[in-house]
């Protein structure tokens, strides 16, 4: 216990003596991990917002009326059953003309003049298709379009594709920046440790003379790097969490999208990031120690 107190005390002394450089190292870890964590959060938000689409209707096929060369209601139901038998399809729901008009009235409830001028018979029947996975939407869309009884096919796959692309770009950018800044954080921490060793070269030299083991000499410097990494990472997690909370309250005014991230996401990734920060800190310390401790001898 006495040794532990001694070692922690030595680490805190190091930090105090190199406060400015240590702050720089903490900021480097903070910025890199904030970017990385920010990218993760944005990605999660996109996932949460597209999950509703992904689990709901993916494709709507509007069907032609019989007078346009389409099928009668019996034929349309038979076509629904045919589509339901396709491997890519998970479920199919048929909406007839009356159902389409009810839906129309529901959507445009705030615009009665529009409802008034709309002829219920002009609204087409449709089949709503839920796919096994959204990735398959192009194949199904193509097969539906090829059938002459189908008037028009609409798919949400394109929008999901676009969001996925944005998500990918954000991920690459976020992680790329985090990687570059993470490396600079390791170098900065390594320099902090080098400076700490230089500032304490007399003590290190005396420690070696009186028979302190190599690990006993190294531990305070490792602890210093660890503290810098953990503090930087914790600040990053806290900052992103606070930002996300503010975003969540902003989300109350935006009805169409979800801006709320579950607490367990923060807990899980927060722990991962703090561990990552600790690893970065220790890696930086080891680099600094390997470069400079050997040079300090009496």
């Amino acid at each position: 216990m006495g040794r532990l107190i001694f070692l922690v005390g030595e680490s805190l002394t190091n930090l105090r003596r190199n406060a400015l450089v240590a702050t720089g190292a903490i900021l480097a870890v903070f910025i890199s991990l904030t970017l990385a964590f920010g990218a993760l959060v944005v990605n999660e938000l996109l996932r949460l917002n597209t999950i509703g689409w992904q689990q709901g209707t993916h494709i709507i096929a509007f069907l032609k009326d019989p007078d346009q060369g389409g099928l009668d209601s019996g034929g349309q139901l038979a076509y629904r059953d045919e589509v339901a038998g396709w491997d890519e399809v998970s479920a199919v729901h048929y909406v007839d003309k009356a159902g389409a008009y009810e839906e129309f009235k529901e959507i445009f409830a705030s615009r009665p003049e529009l409802i008034e001028v709309t002829d219920p018979l002009k609204l087409p029947a449709s089949i709503r298709i839920e796919l096994q996975t959204i990735d398959l939407y192009r194949d199904v869309q193509f097969r539906l379009s090829a059938n002459p009884v189908v008037w028009e096919v609409r798919s949400f796959g394109e929008q999901i594709d676009q969001l996925s692309t944005i998500s990918r770009v954000l991920n690459v950018l976020g992680w790329g920046l985090a990687l570059v800044l993470g490396i600079s954080a390791i170098i900065l921490i390594s320099n902090t440790i080098s400076l700490a060793i230089y500032a304490r070269r007399n003590e290190v030299s005396v420690m070696k003379l009186v028979g302190a083991s190599n690990w006993f000499i190294r531990v305070p410097f490792l602890l210093e790097g660890l503290i810098e990494g953990v503090v930087g990472a914790s600040l990053a997690v806290l900052t992103v969490w606070v930002a996300s909370r503010n975003l969540h309250s902003l989300g109350d005014t935006i009805q169409l999208i979800t801006l709320s991230i579950p607490g367990r996401f923060f807990l899980r990734w927060g722990v991962v990031l703090v561990l990552f920060g600790a690893t970065v800190g220790v890696a930086g310390s080891l680099l600094g120690l390997s470069r400079h401790l050997r040079e300090v001898d009496s």
């Binding site: 006495g2 040794r3 001694f6 007399n202 003590e203 030299s205 005396v206 420690m207 070696k208 003379l209 009186v210 028979g211 302190a212 083991s213 190599n214 006993f216 000499i217 001898d297 009496s298």
Partner: protein, 261 residues
């Protein structure tokens, strides 16, 4: 206690600091390593501490071949040795007590042991009242006493001193030598590199003269310069009082009564 067999040390660049040095130092001996600056005295001290590795030869310390000692065992070797240097190597941010205690803290001694051993050793070097002072509040002689206290606090088998009086005036040097002698008489082997004629001549202990990395003289009871007729007397056994000295022969007035208790 210490044995050097044909030890050679050649630094990068070809400087030969030790050339086939063979030496046998028994337990409890007090040995002066003398010679001009650059003769290789300090290199021998560094080799004994394993701060340097030999180029050739073997060094035995307390029955162990330290030239083959793996790096991780070197700290344990150093725990059996105390070291005193010309520049004291005290930590300016620590008090006298903290400086001495530091040597025990870093090897993990319990607090109660540290407290009692530090008190004892500060009393031995006569600094029991100055424990709360910082090095820059002490004279050179007092700083060297702190350094000796730190070197001896762990009760080492061997005490290596590299020019411990080099920065001190003659009167202060006497006090330092008195402490080193007292430590030696407790059974600790003392090896002291010095070019202080007066001290060596006054102490009349074993003298090993080194020049250009070679042992050029090894006298059981010697002086700084080569005696006209080599001494043949046996060295004092551990715990014995010092040998008689001619009074005031060195100009510093170092008589036996002053030098030894």
């Amino acid at each position: 206690m210490i044995r050097l067999d044909s030890v050679t040390k050649i630094y990068k660049g070809g400087t030969v600091a030790a050339r086939g040095v063979s030496l046998n130092i028994r337990r409890g001996e007090f040995v002066f390593l003398v010679g001009p600056s650059g003769s290789g005295k300090s290199t021998l001290v560094r080799l004994l501490l394993r701060q340097e590795k030999v180029t050739r030869g073997t060094i035995w310390v307390a029955g162990k071949d330290i030239t083959r000692l793996p790096g991780w065992k070197v700290p344990f070797l150093r725990r059996s040795m105390g070291t005193v240097f010309q520049d004291f190597k005290l930590l300016s941010t620590k008090t006298v007590t903290e400086n001495v205690a530091f040597a025990l803290e870093v090897i993990g001694r319990p607090r109660s042991v540290i407290r009692s051993q530090v008190d004892q050793v500060l009393e031995l070097v006569g600094l029991e009242d100055l424990g709360g002072r910082y090095p820059d509040q002490l004279s050179g002689g007092e700083q060297q006493r702190v350094s000796i206290a730190r070197a001896f606090v762990n009760r080492p088998l061997i005490l290596l001193a590299d020019e411990p009086t080099g920065n001190l005036d003659p009167a202060t040097s006497v006090g330092i030598m008195r402490i080193l002698d007292r430590i030696n008489r407790s059974g600790t082997t003392v090896v002291m590199a010095t070019h202080d004629h007066a001290i060596v001549n006054a102490m009349r202990r074993r003298v090993v003269a080194i020049d250009k990395g070679e042992v050029v003289r090894d006298e059981r009871v010697g002086g700084f310069e080569e005696a006209q007729e080599p001494e043949t007397a046996a060295p004092p056994p551990p715990g014995a009082p010092g040998l008689p000295l001619p009074p005031d022969t060195d100009g510093y007035g170092l008589g036996q009564a002053e030098l030894l208790e």
